[in-house]
């Protein structure tokens, strides 16, 4: 099972969501719930820390595709932070790297929203 977990914390006007484990067809709904909950609490500036994600499949990437429009409509965005090379490659393969913003650390990610 590898132990999947998601934790959220406020980070300078944005929310930092730290994901650990696999983001696959088994776990993606938890990720989706987390983001929908943030939206329902009017948080639309979301940084997803992917450094602890060993693996992502299309179901995992789909969560971000489904969410970015709503985030942007509400003056926010989804910034993907520190994907591992394997995870980044999946975004590349899907053609998503041209669409999502990536950041190397939390500071840069949070600053993205004030720029």
């Amino acid at each position: 099972m590898g132990g999947f977990s998601i934790k959220s914390e406020p980070a300078g006007g944005a929310v930092l969501v730290k994901v650990n484990g696999f983001l696959d067809a088994h776990t993606f709904e938890q990720m989706e719930n987390t983001i929908n909950n943030l939206f329902n609490e009017n948080s639309f500036k979301i940084v997803v820390d992917l450094s602890g994600v060993d693996y992502i499949s299309s179901a995992g990437a789909g969560v971000f595709i489904g969410a970015i429009g709503t985030a942007q409509e509400n003056k926010g965005d989804i910034v993907l932070m520190q994907p591992t090379p394997h995870v980044k490659e999946v975004f590349d393969l899907l053609g998503l790297s041209q669409i999502f913003h990536f950041a190397d650390d939390a500071d840069t990610a949070v600053k993205f929203f004030s720029s």
Binding site: M1, H26, G62
Partner: protein, 167 residues
Amino acid sequence: MACAAKAEMEDEGGAKLEIESKTENLSRVREFMSKQVSASQLPPAERGKVILAVDEAVANIMKHSYEEVASGTITISVKSDAERLEIHVMDSGKKFDPNSIRDIDIIQHVKEGRKTGLGIFLMRQIMDEVEYSFKEGQRNELRLVKYVKPKPRPGPAVQAGGGAKGA
């Protein structure tokens, strides 16, 4: 042969994994595939992608072919030689030919917030051959092939020829 619980086997024909149709078994599929690609001649940079393609194929069967009813069996068999890695994924759920699905336009997908329809696209991006056949006795068989030496490809999605082979 017929075994309800998951089972991993090895014989002259290659390695085989049999699992129940439950998404929690996907990590098991990836572990199995990880062993297979490591033992193959595939360049290391391609291995993770092949694991992903098989995960997508199996996840699709769980979601669509067995429609999330955890009562079906999925069998994955792998053969490899100096030239290719060949994977067969078999299920006895709903009949389905992935070649009926057109490639997506990712920009439009994101614009509409559509989070599904990515798996087959990804499978085609990664594998050199994606071929489907429906076998007597209600069985879907998906054949995924990756060449050890990349061949020139006309576009991202190639459906190569060649007859489907039995497991």
